[in-house]
């Protein structure tokens, strides 16, 4: 096992940031801690790093108790949201820092350090930048330097706090694919914090969803997306249409969850199971179209369909369409899920 967290709680004044967290982070995997702000995900990451101490509970690294170990002895690499590069040092000096501060007996030779730093800079594709200062780099480059610096000390665990949070959309896309690629190469046990479900789904091997200091669900991206444990997870992992279930479906009441892209639109009701709707507004988002619909009962539905399907409706009367529900889930009051069968 990689990192074992048991019964970790943390309180800041009156605010309960973490409430009895139990979590196992498998060796060699890339795990995402996903949750809204204030869910405790960064606090958990800092506790793993040893930058904060838990009020209760324990942390084991690879079978060894690390709860009382100091941050500098834990052999973790930590990448900060705002990079935390040392402004007065060159890129080379930043990456070499962790090696140079070692006690003399453990410190590598100068040449070894140089070799190692250059290799790391190669890896993060910043070879020519060694002599520049952080202020001369773009956000994406700075974040790659921060990563190289963290990896230089050969940590057993790599921790990243919202690593792409401060970057603009394009760079963020690019860098997260690169991080996934890098992890496939070096297989270091990694944990990253994010509030962006898309990022977590794209990059992580496993996703841990936190809310109000508690773990709502953890599992593979497919698992948590397809089988959300509760309405919060369902809602947090993507947009959702929510309806009160009719009595004939769930005798005790309950709610139906349908994702916007699990709805299709047509001009005619071939299957006989379509719901008559009218289009109130639509928005073309590149190759997909977001359509807002209203049923005869006045309920609002959001659909997200492919551009070609929308184009096929060109000649149809937008005030008299039918929507088909491809799949959905019913959440009963006893917290059980069932498939919505049409």
């Amino acid at each position: 096992m990689g990192i074992e967290i048991s019964q970790v709680s943390k309180r800041f004044g009156d605010f309960l940031a973490l409430d009895g967290i139990d979590l196992n982070i498998p060796n060699g995997e890339l795990t995402a801690l996903l949750g809204p702000s204030g869910s405790g995900k960064t606090t958990l990451l800092r506790i793993i790093a040893g930058l904060d101490t838990p009020d209760t509970g324990s942390i084991r690294f690879f079978g060894e108790d690390a709860t009382r170990k100091r941050a500098r002895d834990r052999k973790v690499g930590f990448v900060f949201q705002h990079y935390a590069l040392f402004k007065h040092m060159t890129i080379f000096e930043n990456v070499a820092f962790g090696l140079r501060v070692r006690p003399r007996a453990l410190r590598p030779e100068k040449a070894t350090i140089r070799e190692k730093v250059e290799k790391l800079l190669d890896m993060v594709q910043l070879r020519g930048m060694a002599r520049r200062f952080p202020s001369e780099l773009s956000g994406g480059q700075k974040q790659r330097v921060a990563l190289a610096r963290a990896l230089a000390v050969e940590p057993k665990v790599l921790l990243l706090d919202e690593p792409f949070g401060a970057l603009d959309a394009r760079v963020r896309q690019e860098l997260r694919r690169w991080l996934r690629y890098l992890h496939d190469e070096i297989h270091i046990t990694s944990v990253f914090v994010t509030h962006d479900q898309e990022e977590a789904l794209e990059v992580a091997d496993r996703i841990v969803i936190l809310n109000k200091g508690k773990i709502e669900q953890s599992g593979t991206p497919e698992d948590v997306y397809d089988n959300p444990a509760n309405p919060f997870v369902y809602g947090f992992l993507g947009n959702v249409n929510l309806f009160h279930a009719r009595k004939e479906l769930t005798p005790n009441g309950g709610e139906i969850f349908i994702r916007p892209h699990d709805i299709s639109l047509s001009a005619r009701d071939d299957s006989g199971k379509g719901i008559p709707v009218r289009v109130t507004t639509h928005r073309i988002l590149g190759n997909r179209v977001r359509v807002e619909l209203e049923t005869r009962e006045g309920e609002n539905i959001e659909a997200n369909i492919e551009r070609k399907d929308w184009n096929a409706l060109q000649d149809a009367d937008l005030s008299a369409l039918y929507c088909q529900i491809l799949q959905g889930k019913i959440h009963a009051p006893d917290n059980t899920w069932s498939n919505y069968v049409i």
Binding site: S9, F12, D52, A71
Partner: protein
């Protein structure tokens, strides 16, 4: 680790090193250097009974000194409020030749020793100084022309004390108001203007309320500093009891007479004034911060 209130203090600790060492040593140093001596002042004044204490601080000469100190400081800080505001405004909003130099020399009163200030101002405003000489010549001309007996003497009068305190207090106002003026959102002014407000309205309704806490803070800082000022004042003032004698000077006089109790009683009275001003400044600064973050 047990979860008990016992560990509360440790738990919220950052994991950075050196907390015990830095806090322990610096608190010990502060206690020895500042807290203990100040406490001893208060304790010393307690050698007097309440009655004696009251007699000392309500002595006619002491009261006169407080009147001179408070009156002069108030006047000086008020004049500084106007000029300090104008200087801060000019530095925050305009570009002009020599601005960097002006910005740098604002702090001269902070940097220059008060004794030097004292003799420089006393000479400058006396009859043989550049300003005092002109004033004397002007007074001579004025009195002959209008058959009056007016005096325009600044040095060795209460006006001199005010001048010295103005010099000392000016940077406090500039340096508290200037950053606030620089931070003011220009878009808010432009928004007000787009809504049809003229500059007078923009100033009174938009700018002035924004800098009022800073102005008051600056005033309080200048006032606190002026009240305790000694070095620059004693040279330009004639130091005549009941007329131009300030409180700090009176403390020095009492010490010279080896009247430690008297000196400590007046000292405690001044200390109380300083504490009140410090409280007021803290309150104003909180007000300003809230205003800015809102």
């Amino acid at each position: 680790m047990p979860a008990g209130k016992k560990f509360h203090f440790r738990q919220n600790r950052s994991q950075l090193p050196g907390f015990g060492l830095s806090l322990g040593l610096s608190v010990a140093y502060l206690s020895l250097l500042i807290l203990l001596p100040l406490a001893s002042l208060i304790l010393f004044s307690m050698n007097l009974s309440w009655r004696e204490f009251w007699t000392v601080v309500t002595d006619r000469r002491v009261l006169a000194a407080f009147r001179v100190s408070f009156g002069s400081t108030f006047l000086a800080a008020t004049i500084d409020l106007f000029f300090g505001f104008v200087i801060a405004w000019v530095l925050a909003r305009y570009q002009f030749f020599g601005k960097r130099l002006v910005d740098a020399v604002i702090d001269l009163p902070f940097a220059i020793p008060t004794a030097v200030t004292g003799i420089a101002l006393a000479t400058l405003f006396s009859g043989k100084g550049l300003v005092g000489g002109q004033l004397e010549a002007f007074a001579h001309w004025f009195n002959t022309a209008f058959s009056t007996q007016l005096s325009f003497n600044i040095a060795f009068s209460q006006a001199g004390i005010v001048v010295a305190l103005m010099f000392i207090g000016m940077p406090f106002i500039v340096r508290t108001v200037q950053p606030v003026l620089e931070e003011l959102d220009k878009e808010v002014e432009e928004a007000a203007s787009s809504l049809g407000a003229d500059f007078r309205h923009i100033f009174l309704r938009v700018i002035f309320p924004g800098i009022l806490p800073a102005l008051l803070t600056g005033f309080a800082l200048a006032f606190a500093r002026g009240l305790g000022e000694y070095g620059s004042v004693i040279f330009i003032s004639s130091n005549a009891p009941y007329e131009t004698e300030i409180v700090p000077l009176l403390i020095v006089m009492r010490l010279g007479e080896f009247n430690y109790e008297g000196a400590s009683a007046i000292g405690v009275a001044m200390l109380a004034c300083s504490f009140l001003l410090l409280l007021a400044i803290n309150f104003l600064q909180t007000l300003a911060r809230n205003r800015r973050s809102a």
